[in-house]
């Protein structure tokens, strides 16, 4: 379980997140909406532990541990992983080696890459000249190898072509143990009860909802977070009247 309490975050001397409360229970996946520049990526980076995102007050708990000031790698070891939107290129580091590092040498890179149609990229330097869609698949491949319990996805559908959208969507669903994947004949309720993986997915379009069901929708607006039960409602509301009205209505309703 991830619990964020009254979090206040500063980036380059500017407050970018304030009064953030968030709770993702075991097995839950949340969608994160918000206009450009509202701080969605910052929230993910703060959870992952990037030191330039300075936590001024509040705390982040994961699996019962206070991780507010833990370094990135300790969070990763606790089971937090991230799919980046613009990851850096590391020259001389082959994608194959990167996947192996993610899987601590215990994964079959070929087999995993085959699942996401990425075999042809294994011997290329990680992220070097990758297109938007290729980056998404590379990031998913790394998460498949890493297999974290809480996965943070930064716009997993942006730049992905129609053909690969379903592949990306289904892969994320499988990673998050969603939509009947790997249920092995169990009842829906049982699958849900046994589900362990948690997800927080940034999306603008909501296309991902066609493949991944979500338990909650979160809207980040002007540095503050508000939540509703049904993420599709947010999409509909934002589409009709914009983020500001939508947030007013939501906070009014709650």
């Amino acid at each position: 379980m991830l619990i964020i309490e009254d979090l206040r975050v500063e980036l380059a001397d500017r407050i970018i997140l304030e009064h953030i409360d968030l709770e993702i229970k075991q097995g839950e996946t949340h969608m994160l909406f918000g206009p450009n520049g509202s701080g969605k990526t910052s929230l993910l980076m703060t959870i992952m532990g990037y030191p330039q995102y300075k936590v001024l007050s509040g705390k982040i708990m994961f699996k019962g541990e206070d991780i507010t000031y833990k370094p990135i790698n300790e969070r990763a070891q606790l089971g937090i992983g991230m799919s980046y939107q613009r990851p850096p290129t590391i020259h001389g580091l082959k994608t194959r080696q990167m996947v192996s590092l993610c899987g601590k040498g215990k994964v079959n890179e070929e087999e995993l890459a085959g699942r996401i149609n990425f075999k042809g990229f294994l011997d290329r330097d990680i992220n070097a000249g990758f297109s938007g869609g290729e980056i998404k698949r590379s990031e998913l491949l790394q998460l498949m190898a890493q297999n974290p319990d809480l996965m943070l996805f930064d716009e997993p559908e942006s730049g992905v072509d129609m053909e690969n959208m379903s592949l990306v969507g289904k892969t994320i669903a499988a990673l998050l143990q969603r939509n009947g994947f790997s249920n092995e004949g169990k009842s829906k309720l049982q699958t849900k009860r046994e589900r362990e993986k948690m997800g927080l997915i940034i999306t603008h379009t909501g296309y991902i909802l066609d493949y991944v069901t979500a338990d909650k929708g979160q809207v980040l607006f002007e540095g503050r977070l508000s939540s509703v039960e049904n993420p599709r409602e947010i999409l509909k509301c934002v589409g009709e009247s914009g983020y500001e009205e939508c947030v007013k209505c939501m906070t009014g309703c709650n």
């Binding site: 992952m48 532990g49 990037y50 990135i72 990763a76 590391i90 580091l93 993610c102 330097d125 890493q146």
Partner: protein
Amino acid sequence: MYDRMQLKEKAEKARDKKAAIGPDIDLNEYTTAPVQHAYMADDELCHMPEQEQHLLSMTGIDVTKKERGGTYFQKDTQVIHCHTRQDGIEVIPITKALEKYDWIGEYYWKLASVDTDKYTAAAELDLHDGYVIRALPGSKSIYPVQACLYLDKEGLQQNVHNIIIAEEGSELHIITGCASSPHMKTGLHVGVSEFFIKKNARVSFTMIHNFAEKMVVRPRSVARVEEGGLFLNNYICMKPVKSLQMYPTTYLVGRDAVARFYSIIVGSPGSEYDLGSRIFLKEPGCRAEIIARSISNGGNVMNRGHLIGDAPDIKAHLECRGLLINGGIIDAIPELTAHVEGVEMSHEAAVGKIAQEEIAYLMSRGLSQDEATAVIVRGFLSVDIPGLPPQLKAEIDKAIEESDKDVM
């Protein structure tokens, strides 16, 4: 034909001539007196002290000679092993070649000038030995020939002259390791090398240096590549050295001749490196590439490179990247000179430190900061070298792997 007397006279005049670049070295601080070492048979090579074997193995020298086409081993001033086991390849000590074969006169000091500076002069006036490696026309070397220049005597100035000849259509791979014994502190290595790569011949030359911290190294190399020939030159130095200065020159004199130079340097504290490559492209269709990677964790690294386009339709590129890890200085001075229209020449140089973003990315996959740094450094140093036999690629990887501990 050559006149040894004339060469000696020329050398004598350059006895005190300072080098064009690099710190000047007082040769009086070193001794050049011959050091006697017994010749070693095959099994004796394998029974060298473990520490020495390890040192040699770090420079790519395999004492079992299993995957080597020939071996030349010089300790201080003396040849202690010289053997070839592949048809079409000759390995001869140069002193013997000068004594016995007239043809050596067509090569000896024909590319390098004996009066270049005090180091070339010393190599003529006080020549100890060196190797002549010759691939006969059309011969293909399956395994690389290995050459080792080993220093054991404290304070020695080792003067070496090497000649590499690849006859028409031949293919030759050489790995040469220069090392000094573990107890050694100071010494000077002077190495003149002349490469003759004839029509359609292919030569790869991989040099790994593993010297003592107070060693001074002054290689002086010149290569000539004829039509359709290929010269692939790799230089790796991951260990500290007091001062290393070299600026090898290659002349591409025939159509479609190709030269590619790769260098990987790790500059340790107290070490000074000044190195570069100079390539003249003299005929249409010639190609040249210089790729340099240097890391400094406290040393001074000067990277030079000069491409000279003398004919149309040539293509040349120079790439120099430097990474500062823990202080030190990296200079990059790339030069391009075009003398005619229709040349395509470019260079790219970048010096920086490890990007925090890359470290954080790897840490978010579970690596510690140190592990992440090591991965990035290893990636930085791993250059794809096309045309290199797998055994040599493995030797380079091994040298890089081994250096990781020193770099961090």
